[in-house]
Amino acid sequence: MIRDLFAVPWLTGNAWTVWQRNLDVFLKTWRVNLVPPFIEPFLYLIALGFGLGGFVGYIGDVPYIDFIAPAIVAVSIMNSAFFECTYGSYVRMYYGKTFDAIIATPVSIEEVIAGELLWGATRSMVYTGLMLPVLILFGVVDLPSSLLLIPFAFLGGLLFACIAMCFTAITPSIDALNYPSFLFITPMLLFSGTFFPITVLPPAVQVIAYTVLPLTHVVSICRGITLTMFSPFMLVNLAWIAIVTTALFFLSVNLMKRRLVV
């Protein structure tokens, strides 16, 4: 049973046709899609960076605005992939019947889900690529190391896409998707070393953050990249992300297959 849920699906390049479909829709509606990633960093940097940062000053020897800049990117990576593969995928699956239409072609259900996950990851990468110029303009990220955020956003995005798709596969309705949004995404936004260092939390909470809050690892890597402060611990972060992403990729595909093929 458990073994079936983590079975390696048989995938072909057909998955990219589903990815391409979502990209086409994204490009058709580019005006609405391109505005948020420009606006979002402005709001955060001004409110938290200048507003709150004025009181905080420095964290260690890092200016507060530089400290939160990578967290803004990490949160955006999380949100773009997570909401794409929860509400976005659910609407396509349930209301649009898009998946039903696609699986009448040689594309399999496994490939449909893989395409959705790859698209969620791509969306995180596109958003990161759009936010980066704003952050560079504010002078809050190092160059050229920060360019690494773009490929990393794909990996981080894939992690959150896979998490999201697991919820989508088991949710009884679109309203029930509010639970993971509030009970999982919101705590991560606050307790993953985003707006204050995770080290100020009690040790037990730190352990929880490192084990069950994926954003912690994503923030840690983003911060290492934008501050050019690479530490061996980032390899642990990377390994955690790689292992969990792989496992949840398989799990989400198999859960969705179980939901849709009856």
């Binding site: 589903v18 479909r21 058709k28 649009g96 019947k97 898009t98 239409a101 072609t105 040689p106 009856v262």
Partner: protein, 302 residues
Amino acid sequence: MEPVIEAVNLVKQFGLFTAVDTVNFAVRPGEVFGFLGPNGAGKTTTMKMIQCASPRTSGSLSVFGMDPGTHSREIKEMIGVVPQETNLDTEFSTYENLIVYSRYFGIPKEIAEERAEKLLDFVQLTEKRDINIEKLSGGMKRRLILARALVNQPKLLILDEPTIGLDPQARHLIWEKLKLLRSQGNTIVLTTHYLEEAERLCDRLVIMNNGTILVEGSPAELVRDHVGSGIVEAEHSPEVVACLLDLEIPYELAGDMVQVVTDNPRMVAQELLSKCDAKRVLTRAATLEDVFLKLTGRVLRE
């Protein structure tokens, strides 16, 4: 000739519910084969098994000689599906729907574009080429789904209630297109609960009820074998009923009418008029509807 689809003792269960209960049928190349039955008869479930969307519980099923359980990709490359539910991609225009769908089949872009134009012309939607599909009428959407099912030039076309909810004009247009496709040598399988549709289109059909196949044959054969050539109807009054009993003519109740199935409608009508003093007498040829109601009963299906 080897059948395009062959089902032997095909069964589909959902938990304890048996949706398709040990059915046997074979579809020959080039024919229009119909599945007729009331709601919940198991028609759609059977279609889903053929189109590799739903695994069978037991029995054997082959499509083009292949097992849908193990060769779904190969089978799906060769079939076109018109589902009961309209599942066009609402994010795209009429033309784009065909292009995006062609991509799922791996059809090269130039070929897809050429085919899309031709198919839009075939289903008479060229004028609506660049309109978002949400602005299309119900009939237009069904026609576009038919065009979409043809992008891969399928050898077998599967249509689940192709004209459901359409007005007569739109229905006739779909029928015309299906007849054209049949004349080009396509094999077509369709489900319907419109008897007229089955009678007009199908070379052979099965009538399903509660997951089983009741009868199989051509529409004319089924009418002849199960009903007879003519039907005489008269109003359902105690006098008429008493008179029919008196004359020993078997009859059936159908709403506010009594129905007599006979090979000699003229004589029965005369008897009813002269001896039974019936006020309203109607004779007509028996249709598939009479077969259908006789076999599946007159009880309302929910």
